[in-house]
Symmetry: C2
Protein backbone atom coordinates (compact mmCIF):
# COMPACT_ATOMS: atom_id res chain seq x y z
CA UNK A 1 0.00 0.00 0.00
CA UNK A 2 1.15 3.49 -0.68
CA UNK A 3 -0.17 6.80 0.61
CA UNK A 4 -2.27 9.06 -1.57
CA UNK A 5 -0.18 12.10 -2.48
CA UNK A 6 -1.93 15.30 -1.49
CA UNK A 7 -1.56 17.55 -4.49
CA UNK A 8 -1.02 21.00 -2.99
CA UNK A 9 -0.49 22.54 -6.39
CA UNK A 10 -3.87 21.39 -7.65
CA UNK A 11 -5.67 22.43 -4.46
CA UNK A 12 -3.93 25.79 -4.54
CA UNK A 13 -4.86 26.31 -8.17
CA UNK A 14 -8.50 25.67 -7.29
CA UNK A 15 -8.32 28.12 -4.39
CA UNK A 16 -6.69 30.74 -6.60
CA UNK A 17 -9.45 30.31 -9.18
CA UNK A 18 -12.04 30.77 -6.42
CA UNK A 19 -10.23 33.89 -5.25
CA UNK A 20 -10.14 35.25 -8.81
CA UNK A 21 -13.93 34.81 -9.03
CA UNK A 22 -14.36 36.61 -5.71
CA UNK A 23 -12.07 39.38 -6.91
CA UNK A 24 -14.12 39.82 -10.08
CA UNK A 25 -17.25 40.05 -7.95
CA UNK A 26 -15.79 42.67 -5.64
CA UNK A 27 -14.55 44.67 -8.64
CA UNK A 28 -18.07 44.69 -10.08
CA UNK A 29 -19.52 45.86 -6.77
CA UNK A 30 -16.86 48.28 -5.62
CA UNK A 31 -15.40 49.40 -8.91
CA UNK A 32 -11.80 48.63 -8.00
CA UNK A 33 -9.71 45.57 -7.28
CA UNK A 34 -8.48 44.55 -3.83
CA UNK A 35 -5.01 45.89 -3.14
CA UNK A 36 -2.13 44.15 -1.38
CA UNK A 37 0.87 46.12 -0.15
CA UNK A 38 4.02 44.11 0.42
CA UNK A 39 6.85 45.65 2.41
CA UNK A 40 10.35 44.28 1.93
CA UNK A 41 13.25 45.56 4.03
CA UNK A 42 16.73 44.77 2.76
CA UNK A 43 17.96 42.46 0.05
CA UNK A 44 17.68 38.97 1.53
CA UNK A 45 17.61 36.75 -1.58
CA UNK A 46 15.00 34.29 -0.26
CA UNK A 47 12.71 37.12 0.90
CA UNK A 48 13.09 38.86 -2.46
CA UNK A 49 12.00 35.68 -4.26
CA UNK A 50 8.99 35.26 -1.95
CA UNK A 51 7.93 38.86 -2.44
CA UNK A 52 8.26 38.59 -6.22
CA UNK A 53 6.21 35.37 -6.28
CA UNK A 54 3.54 36.90 -4.08
CA UNK A 55 3.33 39.89 -6.41
CA UNK A 56 2.91 37.70 -9.48
CA UNK A 57 0.24 35.54 -7.85
CA UNK A 58 -1.63 38.59 -6.56
CA UNK A 59 -1.81 40.15 -10.00
CA UNK A 60 -2.79 36.82 -11.57
CA UNK A 61 -5.77 36.75 -9.23
CA UNK A 62 -6.83 40.15 -10.53
CA UNK A 63 -5.70 42.13 -7.51
CA UNK A 64 -3.39 45.12 -7.28
CA UNK A 65 0.02 44.41 -5.78
CA UNK A 66 2.28 47.22 -4.67
CA UNK A 67 5.77 46.46 -3.43
CA UNK A 68 7.54 48.81 -1.05
CA UNK A 69 11.27 48.14 -0.91
CA UNK A 70 13.21 49.76 1.88
CA UNK A 71 16.97 49.64 2.45
CA UNK A 72 18.30 47.23 5.08
CA UNK A 73 19.35 50.15 7.29
CA UNK A 74 15.96 51.86 7.28
CA UNK A 75 14.99 53.17 10.69
CA UNK A 76 12.19 51.59 12.69
CA UNK A 77 10.39 54.94 12.73
CA UNK A 78 10.43 55.16 8.94
CA UNK A 79 9.03 51.64 8.66
CA UNK A 80 6.32 52.42 11.22
CA UNK A 81 5.49 55.59 9.29
CA UNK A 82 5.06 53.55 6.10
CA UNK A 83 2.79 51.12 7.96
CA UNK A 84 0.69 54.04 9.20
CA UNK A 85 0.40 55.38 5.65
CA UNK A 86 -0.69 51.98 4.34
CA UNK A 87 -3.16 51.58 7.22
CA UNK A 88 -4.76 54.87 6.19
CA UNK A 89 -4.68 54.20 2.44
CA UNK A 90 -8.17 53.19 1.33
CA UNK A 91 -6.81 51.43 -1.77
CA UNK A 92 -4.82 49.04 0.42
CA UNK A 93 -6.88 46.08 1.70
CA UNK A 94 -3.99 43.93 2.86
CA UNK A 95 -0.52 44.68 4.21
CA UNK A 96 2.25 42.14 4.43
CA UNK A 97 5.58 42.96 6.03
CA UNK A 98 8.00 40.32 4.82
CA UNK A 99 9.85 38.64 7.70
CA UNK A 100 12.52 38.39 8.96
CA UNK A 101 13.23 42.06 9.54
CA UNK A 102 16.76 43.36 10.27
CA UNK A 103 17.79 43.05 13.90
CA UNK A 104 17.66 46.74 14.66
CA UNK A 105 13.90 46.69 14.03
CA UNK A 106 11.44 45.31 16.59
CA UNK A 107 9.30 43.01 14.43
CA UNK A 108 6.64 42.61 17.15
CA UNK A 109 6.24 46.37 17.29
CA UNK A 110 5.86 46.63 13.52
CA UNK A 111 3.29 43.84 13.40
CA UNK A 112 1.35 45.36 16.31
CA UNK A 113 1.25 48.63 14.35
CA UNK A 114 -0.63 47.04 11.45
CA UNK A 115 -4.36 47.62 11.19
CA UNK A 116 -5.62 44.14 12.22
CA UNK A 117 -8.25 44.39 9.47
CA UNK A 118 -5.41 44.57 6.89
CA UNK A 119 -3.10 42.03 8.56
CA UNK A 120 -3.27 39.38 5.81
CA UNK A 121 -0.46 37.37 7.39
CA UNK A 122 -2.61 36.95 10.50
CA UNK A 123 0.31 37.71 12.80
CA UNK A 124 -1.20 40.68 14.71
CA UNK A 125 -2.06 39.84 18.34
CA UNK A 126 -5.70 40.74 17.69
CA UNK A 127 -5.94 38.16 14.93
CA UNK A 128 -4.06 35.55 16.98
CA UNK A 129 -6.43 36.24 19.86
CA UNK A 130 -9.56 36.10 17.75
CA UNK A 131 -8.44 32.77 16.35
CA UNK A 132 -7.78 31.48 19.85
CA UNK A 133 -11.14 32.53 21.26
CA UNK A 134 -13.12 31.53 18.18
CA UNK A 135 -13.95 34.91 16.66
CA UNK A 136 -13.65 35.70 12.93
CA UNK A 137 -10.01 36.44 12.15
CA UNK A 138 -7.38 36.69 9.48
CA UNK A 139 -5.58 33.37 9.98
CA UNK A 140 -1.89 32.74 9.21
CA UNK A 141 -1.57 31.43 5.66
CA UNK A 142 0.41 28.23 6.16
CA UNK A 143 -1.79 26.60 8.81
CA UNK A 144 -4.88 27.81 6.96
CA UNK A 145 -3.63 26.01 3.87
CA UNK A 146 -2.72 22.90 5.85
CA UNK A 147 -6.24 22.74 7.26
CA UNK A 148 -7.70 22.84 3.75
CA UNK A 149 -5.47 19.94 2.70
CA UNK A 150 -6.40 17.93 5.78
CA UNK A 151 -10.11 18.51 5.26
CA UNK A 152 -9.78 17.59 1.60
CA UNK A 153 -8.27 14.27 2.64
CA UNK A 154 -10.38 13.43 5.71
CA UNK A 155 -13.56 15.48 5.52
CA UNK A 156 -15.04 16.09 8.97
CA UNK A 157 -12.28 16.26 11.59
CA UNK A 158 -14.50 15.97 14.66
CA UNK A 159 -12.97 13.61 17.20
CA UNK A 160 -9.86 12.94 15.10
CA UNK A 161 -6.58 12.55 16.96
CA UNK A 162 -4.23 15.24 15.69
CA UNK A 163 -0.59 15.90 16.47
CA UNK A 164 1.08 19.20 15.67
CA UNK A 165 4.87 19.04 15.91
CA UNK A 166 6.27 22.51 16.47
CA UNK A 167 4.92 25.41 18.51
CA UNK A 168 5.79 28.48 16.47
CA UNK A 169 3.41 31.42 16.38
CA UNK A 170 3.38 31.24 12.59
CA UNK A 171 2.48 27.58 12.11
CA UNK A 172 2.25 25.29 15.13
CA UNK A 173 0.11 27.32 17.51
CA UNK A 174 -2.44 28.58 14.95
CA UNK A 175 -2.55 25.10 13.42
CA UNK A 176 -3.50 23.65 16.81
CA UNK A 177 -6.16 26.34 17.27
CA UNK A 178 -7.65 25.62 13.84
CA UNK A 179 -7.76 21.87 14.44
CA UNK A 180 -9.30 22.34 17.88
CA UNK A 181 -11.94 24.59 16.33
CA UNK A 182 -12.75 21.71 13.98
CA UNK A 183 -13.23 19.51 17.05
CA UNK A 184 -10.13 17.38 16.61
CA UNK A 185 -8.34 16.29 19.79
CA UNK A 186 -5.06 18.14 19.40
CA UNK A 187 -1.65 17.57 20.94
CA UNK A 188 1.18 20.06 20.45
CA UNK A 189 4.61 18.44 20.57
CA UNK A 190 7.95 20.25 20.37
CA UNK A 191 11.64 19.97 21.12
CA UNK A 192 11.01 19.15 24.78
CA UNK A 193 8.50 16.38 24.08
CA UNK A 194 9.76 13.12 25.54
CA UNK A 195 7.98 10.41 23.57
CA UNK A 196 7.46 11.95 20.16
CA UNK A 197 7.30 8.56 18.46
CA UNK A 198 4.53 7.49 20.84
CA UNK A 199 2.51 10.60 20.05
CA UNK A 200 3.01 10.12 16.32
CA UNK A 201 1.89 6.49 16.63
CA UNK A 202 -1.50 7.57 17.99
CA UNK A 203 -2.20 10.40 15.57
CA UNK A 204 -4.61 10.23 12.66
CA UNK A 205 -3.35 13.66 11.58
CA UNK A 206 0.31 14.65 11.82
CA UNK A 207 1.41 18.18 10.99
CA UNK A 208 5.19 18.51 11.10
CA UNK A 209 6.53 22.05 11.33
CA UNK A 210 9.92 21.95 12.98
CA UNK A 211 12.49 22.60 10.26
CA UNK A 212 14.55 19.47 10.87
CA UNK A 213 15.13 17.32 7.78
CA UNK A 214 13.39 13.93 7.86
CA UNK A 215 12.93 14.17 11.61
CA UNK A 216 9.68 12.20 11.70
CA UNK A 217 10.30 8.56 10.84
CA UNK A 218 7.79 6.72 8.69
CA UNK A 219 7.88 3.72 11.04
CA UNK A 220 6.43 5.90 13.81
CA UNK A 221 3.24 6.64 11.88
CA UNK A 222 -0.13 5.18 12.62
CA UNK A 223 -1.05 3.25 9.46
CA UNK A 224 -3.33 5.35 7.30
CA UNK A 225 -2.46 8.66 8.94
CA UNK A 226 -2.83 11.95 7.12
CA UNK A 227 0.66 13.51 7.09
CA UNK A 228 1.15 17.22 6.40
CA UNK A 229 4.77 18.19 6.02
CA UNK A 230 5.36 21.91 6.46
CA UNK A 231 9.14 21.63 6.50
CA UNK A 232 11.17 22.86 3.57
CA UNK A 233 14.78 22.01 4.33
CA UNK A 234 17.67 22.27 1.90
CA UNK A 235 20.04 19.32 2.22
CA UNK A 236 23.02 18.18 0.22
CA UNK A 237 22.78 14.65 -1.07
CA UNK A 238 25.55 12.06 -1.52
CA UNK A 239 25.96 13.35 -5.09
CA UNK A 240 26.86 16.80 -3.73
CA UNK A 241 23.68 18.32 -5.11
CA UNK A 242 21.24 20.32 -2.98
CA UNK A 243 17.62 19.28 -2.77
CA UNK A 244 14.57 20.12 -0.68
CA UNK A 245 13.25 17.70 1.91
CA UNK A 246 10.53 17.98 4.51
CA UNK A 247 10.43 17.30 8.23
CA UNK A 248 9.05 13.82 7.54
CA UNK A 249 11.16 11.03 6.08
CA UNK A 250 9.16 10.72 2.90
CA UNK A 251 10.48 7.36 1.70
CA UNK A 252 9.62 5.52 4.91
CA UNK A 253 6.34 7.42 5.40
CA UNK A 254 4.96 6.77 1.93
CA UNK A 255 4.14 3.07 2.40
CA UNK A 256 2.62 3.66 5.84
CA UNK A 257 0.64 6.90 5.63
CA UNK A 258 -2.85 7.16 4.18
CA UNK A 259 -2.23 10.61 2.74
CA UNK A 260 0.96 12.63 2.56
CA UNK A 261 2.05 15.99 1.19
CA UNK A 262 5.16 15.95 -0.98
CA UNK A 263 7.96 18.48 -0.47
CA UNK A 264 7.96 20.55 -2.60
CA UNK A 265 4.47 20.74 -4.09
CA UNK A 266 2.45 20.11 -0.94
CA UNK A 267 1.98 22.84 1.64
CA UNK A 268 4.10 25.46 -0.16
CA UNK A 269 1.67 26.34 -2.95
CA UNK A 270 -1.17 26.62 -0.44
CA UNK A 271 0.59 29.33 1.55
CA UNK A 272 0.57 31.87 -1.29
CA UNK A 273 -2.95 30.88 -2.33
CA UNK A 274 -4.12 31.49 1.25
CA UNK A 275 -2.45 34.90 1.22
CA UNK A 276 -4.63 35.74 -1.77
CA UNK A 277 -7.68 34.34 0.02
CA UNK A 278 -6.87 36.45 3.08
CA UNK A 279 -6.49 39.58 0.95
CA UNK A 280 -9.88 38.91 -0.62
CA UNK A 281 -11.36 38.29 2.85
CA UNK A 282 -9.92 41.57 4.12
CA UNK A 283 -11.24 43.44 1.09
CA UNK A 284 -14.71 41.94 1.53
CA UNK A 285 -14.77 42.83 5.21
CA UNK A 286 -13.80 46.41 4.38
CA UNK A 287 -16.24 46.73 1.46
CA UNK B 1 -1.16 5.73 49.13
CA UNK B 2 -3.17 8.88 49.00
CA UNK B 3 -2.68 12.01 46.93
CA UNK B 4 -1.27 15.17 48.44
CA UNK B 5 -4.06 17.73 48.70
CA UNK B 6 -3.12 20.93 46.95
CA UNK B 7 -4.14 23.68 49.33
CA UNK B 8 -5.47 26.43 47.09
CA UNK B 9 -6.47 28.56 50.06
CA UNK B 10 -2.95 28.60 51.45
CA UNK B 11 -1.35 29.26 48.05
CA UNK B 12 -3.88 32.03 47.39
CA UNK B 13 -3.21 33.60 50.79
CA UNK B 14 0.50 33.69 49.96
CA UNK B 15 -0.19 35.26 46.58
CA UNK B 16 -2.48 37.83 48.17
CA UNK B 17 0.22 38.71 50.68
CA UNK B 18 2.71 39.15 47.83
CA UNK B 19 0.21 41.36 46.01
CA UNK B 20 -0.31 43.45 49.14
CA UNK B 21 3.46 44.02 49.36
CA UNK B 22 3.52 45.04 45.71
CA UNK B 23 0.60 47.38 46.28
CA UNK B 24 2.39 49.02 49.20
CA UNK B 25 5.42 49.51 46.98
CA UNK B 26 3.42 51.09 44.18
CA UNK B 27 1.63 53.36 46.66
CA UNK B 28 5.00 54.57 47.95
CA UNK B 29 6.22 55.25 44.40
CA UNK B 30 3.08 56.62 42.81
CA UNK B 31 1.29 58.08 45.77
CA UNK B 32 -1.97 56.26 45.18
CA UNK B 33 -3.21 52.69 45.27
CA UNK B 34 -4.05 50.62 42.19
CA UNK B 35 -7.74 50.87 41.32
CA UNK B 36 -10.06 48.13 40.09
CA UNK B 37 -13.41 48.96 38.54
CA UNK B 38 -15.95 46.15 38.55
CA UNK B 39 -19.01 46.45 36.33
CA UNK B 40 -22.08 44.40 37.20
CA UNK B 41 -25.13 44.40 34.96
CA UNK B 42 -28.35 43.10 36.49
CA UNK B 43 -29.06 41.24 39.68
CA UNK B 44 -27.87 37.67 39.03
CA UNK B 45 -27.34 36.35 42.58
CA UNK B 46 -24.19 34.36 41.81
CA UNK B 47 -22.63 37.30 39.95
CA UNK B 48 -23.53 39.63 42.82
CA UNK B 49 -21.73 37.34 45.26
CA UNK B 50 -18.65 37.13 43.03
CA UNK B 51 -18.54 40.91 42.66
CA UNK B 52 -18.89 41.46 46.40
CA UNK B 53 -16.13 38.94 47.14
CA UNK B 54 -13.86 40.53 44.57
CA UNK B 55 -14.45 43.93 46.13
CA UNK B 56 -13.59 42.69 49.60
CA UNK B 57 -10.43 40.94 48.44
CA UNK B 58 -9.32 43.96 46.44
CA UNK B 59 -9.65 46.27 49.42
CA UNK B 60 -7.91 43.76 51.68
CA UNK B 61 -4.93 43.89 49.34
CA UNK B 62 -4.78 47.65 49.79
CA UNK B 63 -6.27 48.53 46.42
CA UNK B 64 -9.23 50.70 45.58
CA UNK B 65 -12.32 48.86 44.38
CA UNK B 66 -15.17 50.69 42.71
CA UNK B 67 -18.33 48.84 41.78
CA UNK B 68 -20.56 50.06 38.99
CA UNK B 69 -24.01 48.48 39.11
CA UNK B 70 -26.20 48.87 36.07
CA UNK B 71 -29.79 47.70 35.65
CA UNK B 72 -30.42 44.49 33.68
CA UNK B 73 -32.07 46.47 30.90
CA UNK B 74 -29.21 48.92 30.42
CA UNK B 75 -28.49 49.60 26.78
CA UNK B 76 -25.33 48.34 25.10
CA UNK B 77 -24.40 51.91 24.23
CA UNK B 78 -24.60 52.99 27.86
CA UNK B 79 -22.40 50.09 28.91
CA UNK B 80 -19.89 50.90 26.17
CA UNK B 81 -19.92 54.52 27.30
CA UNK B 82 -19.10 53.45 30.85
CA UNK B 83 -16.25 51.30 29.55
CA UNK B 84 -14.91 54.28 27.60
CA UNK B 85 -15.05 56.42 30.73
CA UNK B 86 -13.20 53.80 32.76
CA UNK B 87 -10.62 53.36 29.98
CA UNK B 88 -9.92 57.08 30.18
CA UNK B 89 -9.92 57.31 33.98
CA UNK B 90 -6.35 57.46 35.18
CA UNK B 91 -7.32 56.21 38.66
CA UNK B 92 -8.59 52.97 37.15
CA UNK B 93 -5.85 50.41 36.53
CA UNK B 94 -8.07 47.39 35.98
CA UNK B 95 -11.57 46.93 34.59
CA UNK B 96 -13.62 43.80 35.06
CA UNK B 97 -17.01 43.38 33.40
CA UNK B 98 -18.75 40.57 35.26
CA UNK B 99 -20.03 37.87 32.90
CA UNK B 100 -22.50 36.68 31.82
CA UNK B 101 -24.10 39.83 30.41
CA UNK B 102 -27.81 40.01 29.52
CA UNK B 103 -28.60 38.63 26.09
CA UNK B 104 -29.36 41.96 24.48
CA UNK B 105 -25.74 42.99 25.00
CA UNK B 106 -22.95 41.69 22.77
CA UNK B 107 -20.37 40.56 25.33
CA UNK B 108 -17.62 40.19 22.71
CA UNK B 109 -18.13 43.80 21.69
CA UNK B 110 -17.95 45.02 25.29
CA UNK B 111 -14.77 43.05 25.97
CA UNK B 112 -13.19 44.29 22.74
CA UNK B 113 -13.96 47.85 23.88
CA UNK B 114 -11.82 47.48 27.01
CA UNK B 115 -8.36 49.00 27.02
CA UNK B 116 -6.25 45.80 26.79
CA UNK B 117 -3.86 47.32 29.34
CA UNK B 118 -6.73 47.40 31.88
CA UNK B 119 -8.29 44.05 30.91
CA UNK B 120 -7.55 42.24 34.18
CA UNK B 121 -9.74 39.28 33.20
CA UNK B 122 -7.44 38.70 30.21
CA UNK B 123 -10.39 38.16 27.88
CA UNK B 124 -9.60 40.86 25.32
CA UNK B 125 -8.47 39.45 21.95
CA UNK B 126 -5.18 41.35 22.26
CA UNK B 127 -4.39 39.62 25.54
CA UNK B 128 -5.51 36.22 24.21
CA UNK B 129 -3.31 36.79 21.17
CA UNK B 130 -0.29 37.93 23.16
CA UNK B 131 -0.59 34.84 25.33
CA UNK B 132 -0.83 32.65 22.25
CA UNK B 133 2.21 34.14 20.54
CA UNK B 134 4.29 34.40 23.69
CA UNK B 135 4.22 38.13 24.39
CA UNK B 136 3.63 39.68 27.82
CA UNK B 137 -0.11 39.64 28.51
CA UNK B 138 -2.80 39.86 31.13
CA UNK B 139 -3.71 36.17 31.47
CA UNK B 140 -7.16 34.84 32.48
CA UNK B 141 -7.25 34.37 36.23
CA UNK B 142 -8.37 30.76 36.55
CA UNK B 143 -5.75 29.15 34.30
CA UNK B 144 -3.11 31.47 35.73
CA UNK B 145 -3.98 30.19 39.19
CA UNK B 146 -4.02 26.58 38.00
CA UNK B 147 -0.53 26.97 36.58
CA UNK B 148 0.74 28.24 39.92
CA UNK B 149 -0.72 25.22 41.68
CA UNK B 150 0.77 22.82 39.13
CA UNK B 151 4.21 24.42 39.40
CA UNK B 152 4.00 24.32 43.17
CA UNK B 153 3.40 20.57 42.96
CA UNK B 154 5.72 19.59 40.12
CA UNK B 155 8.30 22.34 39.74
CA UNK B 156 9.70 22.48 36.21
CA UNK B 157 7.05 21.36 33.71
CA UNK B 158 9.37 20.93 30.72
CA UNK B 159 8.56 17.74 28.84
CA UNK B 160 5.65 16.82 31.11
CA UNK B 161 2.62 15.20 29.50
CA UNK B 162 -0.38 17.46 30.18
CA UNK B 163 -4.04 17.01 29.37
CA UNK B 164 -6.50 19.89 29.44
CA UNK B 165 -10.12 18.74 29.35
CA UNK B 166 -12.32 21.54 28.04
CA UNK B 167 -11.66 24.12 25.34
CA UNK B 168 -13.32 27.27 26.63
CA UNK B 169 -11.74 30.65 25.96
CA UNK B 170 -11.78 31.36 29.68
CA UNK B 171 -10.03 28.25 30.97
CA UNK B 172 -9.14 25.44 28.56
CA UNK B 173 -7.49 27.33 25.73
CA UNK B 174 -5.43 29.74 27.84
CA UNK B 175 -4.49 26.85 30.15
CA UNK B 176 -3.12 24.94 27.16
CA UNK B 177 -1.20 28.01 26.01
CA UNK B 178 0.33 28.51 29.48
CA UNK B 179 1.38 24.87 29.77
CA UNK B 180 2.86 24.88 26.26
CA UNK B 181 4.81 28.02 27.17
CA UNK B 182 6.22 26.05 30.10
CA UNK B 183 7.34 23.38 27.61
CA UNK B 184 4.84 20.73 28.62
CA UNK B 185 3.48 18.51 25.84
CA UNK B 186 -0.16 19.53 25.88
CA UNK B 187 -3.28 17.79 24.61
CA UNK B 188 -6.65 19.55 24.61
CA UNK B 189 -9.59 17.17 24.95
CA UNK B 190 -13.26 18.08 24.83
CA UNK B 191 -16.76 16.74 24.27
CA UNK B 192 -15.82 15.27 20.88
CA UNK B 193 -12.74 13.44 22.13
CA UNK B 194 -13.10 9.73 21.49
CA UNK B 195 -10.78 8.10 23.99
CA UNK B 196 -10.75 10.45 26.94
CA UNK B 197 -9.80 7.69 29.38
CA UNK B 198 -6.79 6.83 27.22
CA UNK B 199 -5.62 10.43 27.23
CA UNK B 200 -6.10 10.72 30.98
CA UNK B 201 -4.12 7.51 31.48
CA UNK B 202 -1.05 9.03 29.81
CA UNK B 203 -1.15 12.44 31.47
CA UNK B 204 1.15 13.55 34.28
CA UNK B 205 -0.95 16.70 34.57
CA UNK B 206 -4.74 16.69 34.21
CA UNK B 207 -6.70 19.93 34.24
CA UNK B 208 -10.45 19.27 34.16
CA UNK B 209 -12.61 22.24 33.15
CA UNK B 210 -15.82 20.91 31.68
CA UNK B 211 -18.54 21.51 34.23
CA UNK B 212 -19.76 17.93 34.43
CA UNK B 213 -19.88 16.48 37.95
CA UNK B 214 -17.35 13.69 38.61
CA UNK B 215 -16.85 13.18 34.89
CA UNK B 216 -13.21 12.10 35.18
CA UNK B 217 -12.93 8.73 36.88
CA UNK B 218 -10.11 8.11 39.32
CA UNK B 219 -9.37 4.73 37.74
CA UNK B 220 -8.44 6.48 34.49
CA UNK B 221 -5.59 8.43 36.10
CA UNK B 222 -1.95 7.70 35.63
CA UNK B 223 -0.69 6.84 39.11
CA UNK B 224 0.95 9.88 40.67
CA UNK B 225 -0.66 12.40 38.32
CA UNK B 226 -1.18 16.01 39.32
CA UNK B 227 -4.94 16.62 39.09
CA UNK B 228 -6.35 20.15 38.91
CA UNK B 229 -10.12 20.27 39.17
CA UNK B 230 -11.59 23.52 37.89
CA UNK B 231 -15.18 22.30 38.02
CA UNK B 232 -17.54 23.65 40.64
CA UNK B 233 -20.82 21.75 40.21
CA UNK B 234 -23.74 21.86 42.59
CA UNK B 235 -25.30 18.42 43.03
CA UNK B 236 -27.98 17.08 45.33
CA UNK B 237 -26.90 14.11 47.40
CA UNK B 238 -28.95 11.10 48.49
CA UNK B 239 -29.77 13.02 51.66
CA UNK B 240 -31.46 15.71 49.60
CA UNK B 241 -28.82 18.26 50.51
CA UNK B 242 -26.89 20.27 47.93
CA UNK B 243 -23.11 20.15 47.84
CA UNK B 244 -20.29 21.21 45.52
CA UNK B 245 -18.34 18.66 43.52
CA UNK B 246 -15.69 19.00 40.84
CA UNK B 247 -15.30 17.51 37.38
CA UNK B 248 -13.13 14.76 38.84
CA UNK B 249 -14.54 11.95 40.95
CA UNK B 250 -12.62 12.87 44.05
CA UNK B 251 -13.11 9.67 46.03
CA UNK B 252 -11.70 7.40 43.33
CA UNK B 253 -9.00 9.89 42.31
CA UNK B 254 -7.61 10.43 45.79
CA UNK B 255 -5.87 7.04 46.17
CA UNK B 256 -4.45 7.15 42.64
CA UNK B 257 -3.34 10.75 42.04
CA UNK B 258 -0.06 12.18 43.30
CA UNK B 259 -1.56 15.62 43.90
CA UNK B 260 -5.15 16.78 43.68
CA UNK B 261 -7.08 19.98 44.29
CA UNK B 262 -10.15 19.69 46.50
CA UNK B 263 -13.48 21.26 45.50
CA UNK B 264 -14.06 23.71 47.08
CA UNK B 265 -10.76 25.07 48.37
CA UNK B 266 -8.57 24.27 45.40
CA UNK B 267 -8.69 26.35 42.26
CA UNK B 268 -11.44 28.72 43.43
CA UNK B 269 -9.40 30.80 45.88
CA UNK B 270 -6.64 31.16 43.29
CA UNK B 271 -8.95 32.82 40.79
CA UNK B 272 -9.64 35.88 42.94
CA UNK B 273 -6.02 36.05 44.09
CA UNK B 274 -4.93 36.09 40.44
CA UNK B 275 -7.39 38.88 39.72
CA UNK B 276 -5.56 40.91 42.36
CA UNK B 277 -2.21 39.93 40.86
CA UNK B 278 -3.42 41.00 37.41
CA UNK B 279 -4.63 44.34 38.77
CA UNK B 280 -1.23 44.93 40.34
CA UNK B 281 0.47 43.88 37.08
CA UNK B 282 -1.70 46.33 35.13
CA UNK B 283 -0.97 49.12 37.61
CA UNK B 284 2.77 48.45 37.42
CA UNK B 285 2.73 48.43 33.63
CA UNK B 286 0.88 51.77 33.62
CA UNK B 287 3.06 53.34 36.31
Amino acid sequence: MSAILIDGKARAARLRAEVALGVAEIVSVRGRAPGLAVVLVGEDPASSVYVRNKGVATREAGMVSVEHKLPADVGEDALLALVATLNADDAVDGILVQLPLPRHIDADKVIAALDPAKDVDGFHPVNAGRLMIGQPALVPCTPKGCLMLIEEALGDLSGREALVIGRSSIVGKPMAALLTAKSATVTVAHSRTRDLAGHVARAEIVVAAVGIPAMVQGEWLRPGACVIDVGINRVVGADGKGRLVGDVDFASALPRAGWITPVPGGVGPMTIACLLANTLQAARARA
